[in-house]
Symmetry: C2
Subunit: 142 residues, 2 copies
């Protein structure tokens, strides 16, 4: 690993990929500021994103590089890409094309809240959970 001070205070981009070859990517809507999704990038996904200005990720479940929106058309134009202090996380502010980012048919993947101030089993609450598109129509049947 490079020097800690250089990683934190320097201007050399030195993304710290984990043992799995990935960095975490947080994606927010450039207009609303809402978190749309959390995804992962490998070296290729990051290079494609920087070169094209559109978001590419690495799918851990499908074990492949994917361009966001390649099937749905819901591409993400990157307005700004930032890296955090220790360079192991990225923040993408995006313009989200189409009706949403989540494969369940919602604008954001974060459509359930965890109530606070309690212990024991937790029951979630839907927040902003209305579907904005029909995932079957967009992705086809699995």
């Amino acid at each position: 690993m490079a020097d800690k001070t250089e990683i934190e205070e320097g201007l050399a981009f030195a993304p710290q990929f984990g043992a799995d070859g990935l960095v975490t990517a947080v994606v927010t809507d450039a207009k609303s500021g809402d978190v749309l999704m959390v995804a992962h990038m490998n070296k290729d996904a990051l290079a494609q994103t920087i070169a094209s200005g559109e978001a590419w990720y690495y799918s851990r479940s499908r074990k492949k590089l994917w361009k966001k929106g390649e099937i749905s058309g819901h591409v993400q134009r990157v307005v700004e890409l930032r890296v955090d202090c220790d360079q192991d996380a990225l923040w993408l502010k995006v313009e989200q094309a189409g009706e949403g980012a989540c494969h369940t048919g919602r604008r954001s993947c974060f459509y359930r809240a965890v109530p606070l101030g309690q212990t024991g089993a937790v029951k979630l609450e839907f927040h902003d959970a209305d579907k904005t598109f029909d995932p079957k129509a967009v992705y086809g049947n699995p």
Copy 2:
């Protein structure tokens, strides 16, 4: 793992901790919407956060549970806690006490941007990188 439909559409909170026992936590400023930091929670950190309404994390470098602000006083009151579709990521909207969230002395950990539309070596650019507090005064010397 529980049933995929239940995880995505149900109201049972079933956080999907990774092989390392952690879930990713994205922290945004409840007022500005800016991403302040990305951290990790183990089961205990999550339970403490839910019970207290203040943010607790698990430090991968120090290998211990920590309450954000326990040294600096820069605690985070959780305004809302959300979970994503596959329940392996959390989003905390917080009121950040004190002058910032980042151990480098800035409000946010994301104070450098990656310029887009290029290939090859990347030189970062400082964005919102002014220090809002003196980390040595707050954390002491390492």
